[in-house]
Symmetry: C2
């Protein structure tokens, strides 16, 4: 059987300095560490605090990555915004840089908007970017946006923009929904990604492409290992081991917890910093998290070292 | 009894051209029409489609208003954003222009954030703007943001930034909540605004300041009339009449409905245009709305005329 390997991407956590400005050097180093572990770079996602950053900051970070020698076909920036013009600006930059694609939130301020309105939003963005190399991965994350993407909308977008609407990330947290997406859409021309490695094995078995998962920031090697060997006899055991680690992180607010672990295992305390309205993990919880991780044999080998190029 | 008049503000609807760019001239003219009817300009609010616009577009419109001779003490721009830097940029501009204050959404991407995180967000903005002339009106609109502002947060902010935290707009749609705000906070140094003229009379009787209401875009004179004469014998009748008009608009998506009415009564069809993900009101609904409005004697006298300066 020649089934291909599953694909793992990480919504890369963003390092901030004491003034809360993004730390380009630490960002590029973390991205290089992730790619050296086989993880693609879904930079500017929910877990990247992307909506807490300006468009200009994201443009600067993307440029730093490409200038830093990171392969753009392993970069899939989040470019969705409430504002068409901001979305178009960042999407254009990603296409011009040769990125694999972009992960695109729906506009998330207004609630109860119609499929027609969302269709017009995505259409307007696509028509303005006006580049056949554009690949859009839709981003379904109703617990955060409260703006779900219906199957009808996805179908209408695929019909209108074949080749450009290339897949979806399902961060709804509901396996039945992800399964439904794979049954209706998964295939050569449409990649269904689970929003958590908790559903990685199920997604691959259902014909999906892999996962784009927060904790791929901290547990990349083990997640990639399962994605590569998902048809091996020990796949269910591997999945179980991934879930144990995920459970430990999910005891706390996920972004501060991942940043705390990265700070601990890299020895770079500045990693703990988050932008408001998020709050960094308190000391006691950091100790609890690190202790519990260590009992599982968890490590982040090589994280925070100067170069992984 | 020397009770002062209630205060009415409108989250000004934004006119767009065929390319969806803001139409500065129509914008300034509509603002002048509103002020000539006694309504203050809460530009860049929810009903302004402000989060569908870039920071630069809002800066340009604000400048056009001030350059157009509009009294800045009657302007209260919405400046809240998911991004501290974007919020600070627009807030600074508003303070420098001498605006009455700013209406500030909490960061609205992440859900379930803590009061501590929201406190840090507002504190960071205030500290960066660093201007004692700053007046912040908090914007509580949980049906849209899903990020409520608790009484404890309001109190903590007032204690930390006396004079700067100047009031709140309550768009929760729950009178008990607005009443609770007036009981706990309303007074000389804290203005409680209802988010709809439906609660205007109740708010003024409870010691609140007035309302900041969408439909003040289309029914300004009558709303201001009640605010000025809320202690008159016919106040309840006036409130009832306002509610009848509000009901008619609320049969439809509010922003497209207000724009459709403005288009009809100004004779400028371009007013119907909205930015995605919103969708303009369909023809049949426009006819229904206009007919039903006319049966009440509703009019928008002078709207769309060249100058109200």
């Amino acid at each position: 059987m020649s089934q291909t390997s599953g694909d793992v991407w990480s919504p890369v956590i963003t390092p901030f300095g004491a003034d809360l400005a993004p730390d380009r050097q630490r960002f590029v180093a973390h991205c290089q560490w992730l790619t050296s572990n086989g993880v693609g770079l879904a930079v500017f996602g929910t877990n990247s605090e992307a909506n807490s950053m300006t468009v200009a900051e994201k443009q600067t970070l993307l440029k730093a990555l490409v200038d830093g020698g990171v392969d753009p076909t392993r970069i899939m920036p989040g470019t969705g915004s409430c504002t068409i013009d901001d979305c178009v600006a960042l999407t254009r930059e990603a296409v011009d840089a040769g990125c694999a694609g972009v992960l695109m939130l729906p506009p998330f301020y207004y609630k109860g908007v119609s499929d027609e309105g969302l269709f017009r939003y995505y259409s307007e963005v696509i028509n303005r970017v006006a580049n056949s190399r554009l690949r859009i991965y839709l981003y379904h994350i109703p617990p955060v946006t409260h703006v779900p993407l219906s199957f009808e909308l996805i179908e209408r977008l695929r019909d209108a923009f074949p080749g450009i609407i290339a897949g979806i990330k399902d961060s709804g947290g509901d396996w039945a929904h992800t399964k439904g997406l794979t049954e209706r859409f998964a295939g050569q021309d449409f990649a269904v990604y689970a929003g958590s490695e908790r559903f990685l094995l199920d997604t691959l078995r259902a014909g999906g492409a892999g996962c784009i998962s927060a904790t791929a920031n901290v547990n990349p090697a083990a997640i990639v290992e399962l994605a590569r060997h998902w048809q091996a006899n020990d796949a269910d055991d591997r999945q179980q081991n991934l879930n144990v680690v995920r459970d430990l992180f999910e005891k706390y607010p996920l972004i501060p917890a991942m940043k705390a672990a990265t700070a601990y295992f890299s020895g770079k305390d500045a990693w703990r910093r988050v932008r408001p309205p998020l709050v960094e993990l308190e000391e006691q919880h950091v100790s609890e998290l690190v202790s519990s991780l260590k009992t599982t044999g968890f490590q982040m080998e090589g994280v925070g070292e100067a170069s992984h190029g």
